[in-house]
Amino acid sequence: MSALRPGGDDFGARLSFDRGGPGRRAVDVPAWNGEATPLPDARLLRDSLRLPELSQGELVRYYTALSARNYGIDSGTYPLGSCTMKYNPKVDDLVASLPGFAGAHPQTPAEDAQGTLRTLLELRRGLAEATGLPAVSLAPAAGAQGELAGVLMITRALEDRGELETRRRILVPDSAHGTNPATAAMAGFTVTQIPTAADGSLDRATIEQELDESVAAVMVTAPNTLGLWEQGIEEVAGLIHEAGAYLYGDGANLNAIMGRVRYGDLGFDVVHLNLHKSFSTPHGGGGPGAGPVCCSKELAPYLPTPVVDECEDGVVQLTAPERSIGQLQQFHGNVGVLIRAYAYMRALGLEGLRAVSGQAELNANYLRALLHGYYDLPYDRPVLHEVVFSGSRQRKEHGVRTYDIAKRLIDHGFHPPTVYFPLIVDEALMMEPTETEPPEAIEALAEAMIAIAEEAERDPDTLHAAPLTAPIGRLDEANAARRPVLRWQEPEAED
C-alpha cells in the first residue's frame, strides 16, 4: 500500500525533479550567527543548481512508493542463480550500525579503532580457515575488485620471477563469469577461452594443450556456473603449477562448499570471495559488497593494502604487505559490510556454515527433482547449490522463450531465475534456491514453473505478454540503448 496512485497513472514519468515546487524543502539548515567570512570570488562559485524541491513528507512518500516498486528477498523467493539471494539477518544491520563502529573516521589511529580492527582480524582468520588459504586481504569492495587484486598479485609475482614479459595469457573457461575475462584483460593479459567439456566440466585436454610458458594463470569458477564441481581440479592444479602458472579461483560461490572442502587444500593459489553472497550481507540492489582475496603463503607478500594484522603486543594494525600490489581504494574497503559478514560467520559457526552448504545443495537438487521432465536439463546430474535448466524445448515446440518464462514467473509472485547465463546453455534458466528457502517455497516455485510449462503448450501468447501483474509491463530495452535518456532534463516547454 505504498503506491502514490495505484492504477493506470504513469508513475515513472514523474521524477522527484517533477514533483514538489519552487521553494519547498525537506530540511532546514542552521543559520550561521558568527562573523561572516566573505565568499571566494564569484568566478569560483556556482551560479545555479537544479535539484528537486520537495517538502519532507513528499520526499518520504516518493521514495516509499519507489520501494514498493521493488522486489527483495524479504518479498519472496528470489532464485537468481549465481547471485545467491538468501535471507539477510536483520541483526547484522543492527550491529554494523552501532555508533562505535559507524562513527569511526577512516584515519583514526589504530589504538582508537581496536574494536573494528579486532573484528576484521577475526573475520580474516575465519576466512583463512574456511578457504584453507592462509593470507587474506579484506580490502576489495566487491567480487570483481577481488578478482582484479588476485590477477594483479599474479602479475607482480611473475614480475618478481622475471616472467611477466613472457607470460601474457590467462586461460578462462567459457563457462566463467564475465568478470573473469574482463578482469584478466583489465590487468593487461590476453584471454584464451577454454570450451567446456560435454559433461559440463573443465576441458582438461584443452587446458593441458594450452598450458605453456606463455600462460600466467588459469581462472576457474569453482563451483562452476553450471552448479557443478570441477572434478579433478586438484590434479589440474598440479599441471598448472608444473607449467609455472597460477590457479585462480573464483570463489563467489563458496556457499556451495563451505565446510566441505577448501580451496587451499585443492591447490588454488588465489581466490576471491563474495561475502555479499556467501555470507549473506544485503546486496542493496547492486552493492555494497565485499570481495576479500585469499591466497597461499607464496602470494601473501603481494596482497592489496591494507591487511589486518595483530602485533606482538596484541594491538591490531592495518599493514601494507611487502610487495603489495597497492591500495584498491582510498581507505580500507567496505568495512560496514565486513562487520555484517563477521556477525553472520559468528552466528553460524562451523556447524552452521556446513548446514548452509548442505541445505543449499539439498534445496537445489530438490528443485531439480521436482522439475525433472518439465524442463530440459542439459547436464543431467546431481548439482551443488544451483541447477541450470534449459527452455530450449519450450522455444522449439511452442515459440516460448526463457525470457517469457521468466516474466511469467513474476505473475506467480516469484523473482525470476538468472536467464541466458551461462552462455554455454541454450535458453538457460539458472536457479539457486539457497538454504534459506523452506521446502514449501521450493515446491510452490516448482508448481509455478510446471504451470508455466503447461501454459507454454496451451497459451503461449499469455507468456509473451507477461508479466501482467507487475507494477509495470515489459520495457523497451532496445530503444533505451539506441536513444539513451540517462538523466532528468528540465521540461523544455516549462522553462
Binding site: 539548515v29 535539484l51 577512516p106 566441505r260 581507505f331
Partner: protein, 455 residues
C-alpha cells in the same frame, strides 16, 4: 505447531527441519546430505576447520556491543578530514534507505519488479550530472579513488595515450589506487606539482577540488592548459563543496569523480563508500559500471492508456557480462544502496539547502581558523580561497602537537608535515564542517591555547 519437536531446524536462518530433510532426500533419491557432495575429492572432504562455535543472537549483540565500545567514542572532538568529512545527514535518508525492498534486492536484472532500484538510480544519475555539470553519470563505483583510476583508464582508452598526470596536492590514496589500477595496463603515472608539466603524452590531468590541503582550485585555466595538449581534465570533486563551488563541467572538466559516502551516512571507518563518476556525452559508451536509462513499456498497460515510463539497465554492451574481455570495466556489484542514501540526502537538502549547508561549512571552518590564527604561537598558512580544511602550524613540531592534543582528549588533524608543499611544513591538516559541534571547536581552541601557553 504443537510442543517442541525433536530434530528441529539446524539454525534460525535455515528453515528445513530433520523431517523436512528426510522427505526431500527421499524425493532427490539420495541417502543423506553427504551424498550430495560426492563430486568433491573424498580425500579432502570435511577438513578440520578452526572456527568459533555459533552464537545466539543475544550473545552476538553483546559481543559486538563490546567490540564497538573498544573503539574511541566517536562523539568526542575529532578534526580528521583528509577525504572523509562529518556531515549532517537528514533522518529521512537512513529511514528510507533501510526499507527492505531496497536493501534486500539484487542488481535490477528484471526491470518490471525493480523499478524502485532503477528509478532511484536514475535520480542519482540526474543529481550527479547536475552537481558535476556533466551529461552522463553511471550508477556509482566503489569509491572516489577507484573511480578516479577508472577515469584514467577511460582517458587512456579514449586518447590512446600511455601516461596519466595527477596534480598535487591530491589525496595520496588517489595516487596509490591509480598506480594499482594502471599497473596491469602498463601505464605511466606522473605526479605533477604544476599543470605546466602536462604534455601530449598524457591522456588526462587529474585535479582534486578542493585540493588535498583544502584550497579551492580555479579549474578553468587548468582545463585550458590540458585541452591545449589534447589532455582530458579529470576533476576529483567533493560533491558537498559543489553546493557552493562552480561545477567542474562549467569550468571545462571532461570527467568528474568524487566521494559520496559523507553525504550518505556515517563514515564507518571509510566504507561502504561511493565513487561518483560522470563524464561528457562523447564518453558515454566508454563509461565503466552500470547505467540506467529511461524508456517506455513495449505494450499498452492492461488497464488501457498509453505505454508507461520505466527504467532499465542500459548500454550493457559495454559490460563484462556481455562483452567479457572487451568490456569497459569489470565492475558488477558497486554501491547502489549508498548511492540511494546520497541521492536522498542531496534531494532533501535541495538547491537552497545544499548551498546553505556548504556556506555554513565554509563559515564555520573559517571562523575556527580565525580563532586559531588569533592564538599566540599559531599560524594558519593559506594560499588562497579554501573550503573546509586548513593547515595549522603551532609552537611544537607537528607530531608533538598532535600528541599533546590527543592527551587533552582532542583528535588532531592529519599530520602532513612530511609533505613537499611549503605550507604543509610542520603542519597538521584540520577539518571543520557544518556538522562539527561548536563545543568541539571551543575545546580545540582551548587546548591549542593551553599547549601554546606551556610551550
Amino acid at each position: 505447531m504443537a510442543s517442541p519437536a525433536p530434530g528441529g531446524a539446524p539454525h534460525p536462518y535455515i528453515p528445513a527441519t530433520e523431517a523436512d530433510r528426510a522427505r526431500m532426500l527421499e524425493r532427490v533419491g539420495v541417502a543423506d546430505l553427504d551424498a550430495l557432495f560426492a563430486d568433491l575429492p573424498a580425500a579432502m572432504r570435511d577438513p578440520a576447520i578452526d572456527l568459533p562455535p555459533a552464537l545466539t543472537e543475544p550473545e552476538l549483540i553483546a559481543l559486538l556491543e563490546e567490540r564497538a565500545g573498544e573503539n574511541a567514542d566517536a562523539s568526542q572532538p575529532n578534526f580528521l578530514g583528509a577525504g572523509a568529512y562529518r556531515r549532517s545527514i537528514p533522518a529521512v535518508a537512513a529511514h528510507l534507505t533501510s526499507r527492505s525492498e531496497f536493501v534486500t534486492a539484487y542488481t535490477p536484472y528484471q526491470p518490471e519488479i525493480s523499478q524502485g532500484t532503477l528509478q532511484s538510480a536514475f535520480e542519482y544519475q540526474s543529481v550527479v550530472c547536475e552537481l558535476t555539470g556533466m551529461n552522463v553519470s553511471n550508477t556509482g563505483l566503489y569509491d572516489v579513488a577507484s573511480a578516479t583510476a577508472e577515469a584514467c583508464l577511460l582517458a587512456t582508452r579514449a586518447t590512446r595515450r600511455g601516461a596519466v598526470a595527477l596534480l598535487e596536492p591530491i589525496h595520496p590514496g588517489t595516487i596509490e589506487v591509480v598506480r594499482t589500477y594502471t599497473r596491469g595496463a602498463g601505464l605511466r603515472v606522473d605526479i605533477l606539482t604544476s599543470a605546466d608539466a602536462v604534455s601530449e603524452e598524457h591522456a588526462c590531468l587529474v585535479v582534486q577540488q578542493p585540493d588535498f590541503l583544502g584550497a579551492i582550485v580555479d579549474l578553468e585555466p587548468l582545463a585550458e592548459a590540458a585541452h591545449e595538449s589534447g589532455v582530458l581534465l579529470v576533476t576529483v570533486a567533493d560533491p558537498f563543496a559543489l553546493g557552493l563551488l562552480r561545477s567542474p563541467g562549467d569550468a571545462g572538466a571532461d570527467i568528474v569523480t568524487g566521494e559520496g559516502r559523507d553525504l550518505a551516512g556515517a563514515p564507518a571507518f571509510g566504507g561502504p563508500s561511493l565513487g561518483l563518476f560522470a563524464a561528457r556525452s562523447p564518453f558515454m559508451r566508454q563509461m565503466p559500471g552500470r547505467i540506467v536509462g529511461r524508456t517506455k513499456e513495449l505494450h499498452e498497460p492492461p488497464e488501457g492508456g498509453e505505454p508507461r515510463t520505466g527504467y532499465v539497465l542500459t548500454l550493457q554492451a559495454r559490460e563484462q557480462f556481455i562483452r567479457r574481455e572487451r568490456a569497459t570495466s569489470n565492475v558488477s556489484t558497486a554501491q547502489s544502496l549508498i548511492a540511494l542514501a546520497f541521492t536522498i540526502t542531496v534531494q532533501a537538502l535541495g538547491p537552497q539547502g545544499l548551498r546553505e549547508a556548504a556556506e555554513l561549512c565554509y563559515q564555520r571552518a573559517h571562523d575556527a581558523a580565525a580563532r586559531i590564527t588569533g592564538l599566540p604561537g599559531y599560524e594558519v598558512p593559506v594560499r588562497g580561497p579554501w573550503f573546509q580544511e586548513f593547515l595549522v602550524r603551532g609552537p611544537l613540531p607537528a607530531a608533538e602537537l598532535a600528541d599533546r592534543l590527543r592527551e587533552l582528549g582532542i583528535g588532531p588533524g592529519l599530520d602532513v608535515s612530511s609533505r613537499a608543499e611549503a605550507e604543509a611544513r610542520d603542519a597538521l591538516l584540520f577539518a571543520v564542517t557544518e556538522a562539527t559541534p561548536d563545543a568541539h571547536v571551543d575545546a580545540l581552541v582551548d587546548a591549542l591555547a593551553e599547549i601554546g601557553a606551556d610551550a
